[in-house]
């Protein structure tokens, strides 16, 4: 802990400026930026476990340094004493989250002893019944799948981000593919929806055709 502090205070803006010039072309941390702090920033936003090599290339630092910084973060979050601190320094808290290596990469997870709290919380957050907004969004996805969130939003004329998350966490929809050009995730419905509706396949959804082709074609041939 003390070591980071030292680095932090040393990383004064003016000190960073001149050395900044030799920073790598694309990515890379400016000199003097604490590597551990940058890594924990990255871990905050990533969904998938991150390999040490990938992280090293992203921050433009040697793999060895990145590995050491990760180890220091693990110890930090686990509440182990700071090796650089004085013997009688106060203990560091054991965080509610931890950094774990899973499947060849590192990711932040809820610490196991808080699973119950988080499970309770997720429970309260998810009401037993879907809202009208969620049902309508689900209906749009069911009839137009695979469809991106943006396309659903423009049909529903409202922002659907949180509703889509709800449907995802409910297992009623899933990610079908990611458009390689736009990066937009396209969603489709799952077997669970069919089960809930009591049908065997999407073909059994009642036909509502005329409105489906964006009101363009298809008015004459009702599907």
């Amino acid at each position: 802990m003390a070591s980071e502090t030292v680095t932090d205070s040393a990383a004064a803006p003016d000190a960073a400026a001149p050395e900044n010039a030799d920073a790598p072309e694309r990515a890379g941390l400016a000199d003097g930026v604490d590597l551990a702090r940058a890594l924990e920033a990255i871990f905050m936003v990533v969904d998938e476990p991150q390999s040490v090599v990938g992280l090293a290339s992203a921050v433009g630092r040697p793999v060895k340094e990145v590995r050491a910084a990760i180890a220091s973060l693990v110890a930090d979050y686990d509440g182990e004493p700071d090796p650089a601190a004085l013997p009688d320094a106060p203990a560091r808290p054991r965080r509610g989250f931890e950094l774990r290596e899973v499947g060849g990469g590192w990711r932040l997870y809820v610490r196991a002893e808080f699973d119950d709290v988080v499970r309770d919380f997720v429970h309260t957050q998810a009401p037993a019944k879907l809202s009208q907004a969620a049902l309508e969004t689900l209906a749009v996805i069911a009839y137009k799948q695979p469809i991106s969130r943006g396309a659903v939003a423009s049909i529903r004329a409202v922002n659907v981000d949180s509703v889509v998350r709800t449907l995802l966490s409910r297992g009623l929809i899933t990610e079908a593919y990611t458009d390689s050009e736009t990066g937009a995730i396209h969603y489709e419905t799952t077997e669970l929806l069919l089960t809930q509706l009591g049908i065997n396949s999407l073909d059994e959804l009642p036909q509502i055709s005329p409105l489906l082709d964006d009101g363009q074609a298809g008015f004459d041939d009702v599907r």
């Binding site: 905050m44 936003v45 990533v46 969904d47 997870y109 809820v110 699973d115 988080v118 499970r119 997720v122 429970h123 998810a126 009401p127 037993a128 019944k129 879907l130 049902l135 309508e136 969004t137 209906a139 749009v140 069911a142 009839y143 049909i155 529903r156 004329a157 995802l168 966490s169 409910r170 297992g171 009623l172 809930q196 509706l197 009591g198 049908i199 059994e204 959804l205 009642p206 509502i208 409105l211 489906l212 009101g215």
Partner: protein, 278 residues
Amino acid sequence: MATPPDAVIEAGDSSPDARGGFRVAVADFDGPFDLLLSLITKRELDITEVSLSAVTDDFLAYLRALEGAERLDEASEFLVVAATLLDLKIASLLPQGELVDAEDVALLEARDLLFARLLQYRAFKEVSAWFSERITAETRRHVRSVRLEDRFRQTTTELRWTTSVDDFAALALLAFAPKEIPIVGLDHLHAPLISVREEAAHVVGMLRAGEPLTFRQLIAGADQMGVVVARFLALLELYRHAAIGFEQLEPLGELTVRWTAENWSDENLVNLGAEYGQ
């Protein structure tokens, strides 16, 4: 327009308006449009001395050099402000005189209201820059938003599903129905409809007798503004059909209307004023 367009477009290094927007160069004023506005609102520049048509010419020339969204933004902003300036100018051009009657007071109040509107518009315009900055700054921020860990995904409350497949389809229909923003109905306003054609018939009836009549006489007895307007429109239409002639000895003086049609049939009345709907 005396100033050549490219002289107008120059971003003016000396200009206090750092973003180098639209510059105005007219007789008594040379500087950014914003400055013109603030001078007028502070009454350091008389709106009546600004040639709005010259400003508009300048602006159109300036617009041609812009592209895409920027052009639309600048144009819509200009329209808003120019419309207010025009109102302001109309109010300023009307005779002021002494505060003798209620009409004059109302006129002055109207002028102040226009100033107020301009100020209000500027306030919102200024604060919209704050909105823009904040939104831009915030889009650079990254919030933690990651997929729920699998072990929590499976523990959500069991879903209580009550929607039948037909209800589900009905919901889809509802969702796909075009979302027209509803229009505020005017049906609750019961202004009696006034027909330009009927008023024209009335005017024709009065004039055809042969005696020239003043406009004042033609609208005598009209108790609604709408009737006055309709009779005026009827006169314009009749003039277009060469059925009447006007005579006015001095500006804003008495307007005399004379029947001049040589062969007028009432059939002409049928189509008259059709473009006004009623």
